[in-house]
């Protein structure tokens, strides 16, 4: 413990970089999918039609009530079973990355739907009214009038959620997916230099998230002025 050997980080740089790419890829897909499906879920939840709003609310509340790590476990074991049921083939139809992607999109869409729902509700009722009065239909009033303003209002919260999502990508190591943390963990086990590698991981996460939080703060200040 007394002597640190940082050369292991350099030695395993390629594996660590590959791990980081996996983390970033998962992050990007989960973010895009989460915002897209989160928007649809938010609209469903706000719909006057109960056949839409009740299941949407049920899904969001269920996902938000279970630990993220459980969702990842579930989909790792469930998606292969469901896929094999539909295709009739046995065995591992999807790998850990695909099942992680499914789990992340579902969980993030539930989280994002709550943010977006609050964003939509922050827009005064007169705005969609004005859009309808000009002859726009529901879709046009959402796309051109309500959602652009809602996203603008919610941008800081959405970015904060993105920072949390980036940290949460490290959870996939439980399904043996080699993300950044997974790669570091593996290298640590091979070399016996776990402390150095975990410290390195912590520093990288800290730098990325700290920079992002700082950017969110700057953005918040700018949006506050232009309002």
């Amino acid at each position: 413990m007394a002597e640190m050997d940082w050369s292991v980080v350099w030695k395993y740089r390629e594996a660590l970089w590959d791990g980081m790419l996996t983390s970033l890829k998962l992050f990007a897909i989960a973010l895009a999918g989460g915002i897209f499906f989160g928007t649809l879920l938010a609209l469903a939840r706000l719909a006057r039609w109960k056949a839409l709003s009740v299941p949407a609310a049920g899904f969001v509340n269920l996902i938000r009530a279970i630990p993220f790590i459980m969702a990842i476990f579930w989909f790792y074991f469930l998606t292969p079973m469901i896929v094999s049921k539909f295709t009739g083939q046995q065995g591992e139809a999807v790998g850990p990355f695909t099942s992680a992607v499914v789990a992340f999109i579902m969980v993030e869409s539930a989280y994002y739907s709550e943010i977006i729902r609050a964003g939509i509700q922050s827009i005064p009722r007169g705005q969609p009214w004005a859009a309808y009065a000009l002859g726009m239909n529901y879709r046009q009033s959402m796309v051109h009038i309500v959602l652009p303003q809602a996203f603008r209002n919610m941008l800081p919260v959405m970015l904060t959620q993105a920072v949390i999502l980036f940290q949460d990508t490290s959870l996939v190591y439980v399904v043996a997916l080699k993300d950044f943390l997974g790669a570091a963990s593996k290298a640590g086990q091979l070399t016996g230099r776990i402390v150095e590698l975990y410290l390195f991981v912590a520093v990288v996460f800290f730098l990325v998230c700290f920079a992002a939080s700082w950017a969110v703060k700057r953005l918040q200040a700018r949006l506050a002025v232009s309002r």
Binding site: Y132, L134, H144
Partner: protein, 242 residues
């Protein structure tokens, strides 16, 4: 043009509109007034289907507003509406506010929509503001833009829902001037307002509402000369004697 027949509406068990019947003929200007909470705003929003109602019928240009088969967006595209809080789209420039619905709803080309929008903006005296955003304009200016936006759709009738009640006193007249001009050009108008000066000047008829009911519906001169109901007399004496 606008024909309301025994319109009733409830919020839960509370009845906000009680058998409201009135009409606005083509080219007519009808002012709707009454104490706050009397259902004026709800009534005018029912005319273009923004507020659903449970009983009665409303016909605009012969088309039933309450009929679920009616294509409401298509109907609304030809009825202009001006709101108490202007409701310009704050994330868009003034020009974009004027052209968006023309392009998306009426299918006009961008150039055509812009020419039309800017002509109307000039008419309300705000052409120089075309590249600004709503937040940079005063309340009175915003409301004039909102009128120009509604007019850009070539409406067959205009609905005004308390267009001046959110304005500072010195800005009320610039908006009323635009409305007076519009009335004199023969636009069909239904106007919810407390501006009795405006009513005196251009209204053909005055509708007085109280507790969700139309209490008085008569030619302007009768209303100001000798309102029949006590409630209308009390209302007039309250708002005129200041």
């Amino acid at each position: 043009m606008i024909d309301l027949r025994a319109v009733s509406k409830w919020f839960g068990t509370f009845q906000v509109l009680k058998d409201c019947t009135t009409r606005v003929a083509k080219g007519e200007v009808v002012v709707v007034c009454g104490p706050s909470g009397s259902g004026k705003s709800t009534l005018i929003k029912a005319v273009n289907g923004l507020e659903p109602f449970q009983k009665g019928e409303i016909f605009v240009n012969g088309i039933s507003v309450g009929d679920p088969r009616t294509n409401l967006p298509k109907l609304r595209a030809h009825i202009g509406m001006v709101f108490q809080n202007f409701e310009l789209f704050p994330h868009m420039s003034i020009t974009a506010n004027l052209t968006l619905a023309q392009v998306k709803v009426l299918g006009r080309s961008r150039e055509e929509a812009e020419a039309k929008g800017l002509k109307l903006l000039d008419r309300v005296g705000l052409l120089s503001q075309k590249d600004k955003f709503p937040g940079q304009l005063s309340g009175g200016q915003q409301q004039r833009v909102a009128i120009a936006r509604a007019l850009s759709m070539d409406p067959i009738a205009m609905l005004f829902d308390e267009p001046t009640s959110a304005l500072d006193p010195e800005m009320i007249n610039e908006v009323l001037d635009v409305m007076v001009e519009l009335a004199r050009e023969g636009m069909t108008m239904m106007v919810v307002t407390h501006e009795m000066g405006f009513a005196r000047k251009v209204a053909h008829r005055v509708v007085f509402m109280d507790h969700g009911q139309i209490v008085e519906d008569c030619p302007k001169d009768d209303f100001f000369g000798s309102p029949r109901s006590e409630r209308a007399q009390a209302f007039l004496s309250k708002i005129l004697h200041h």
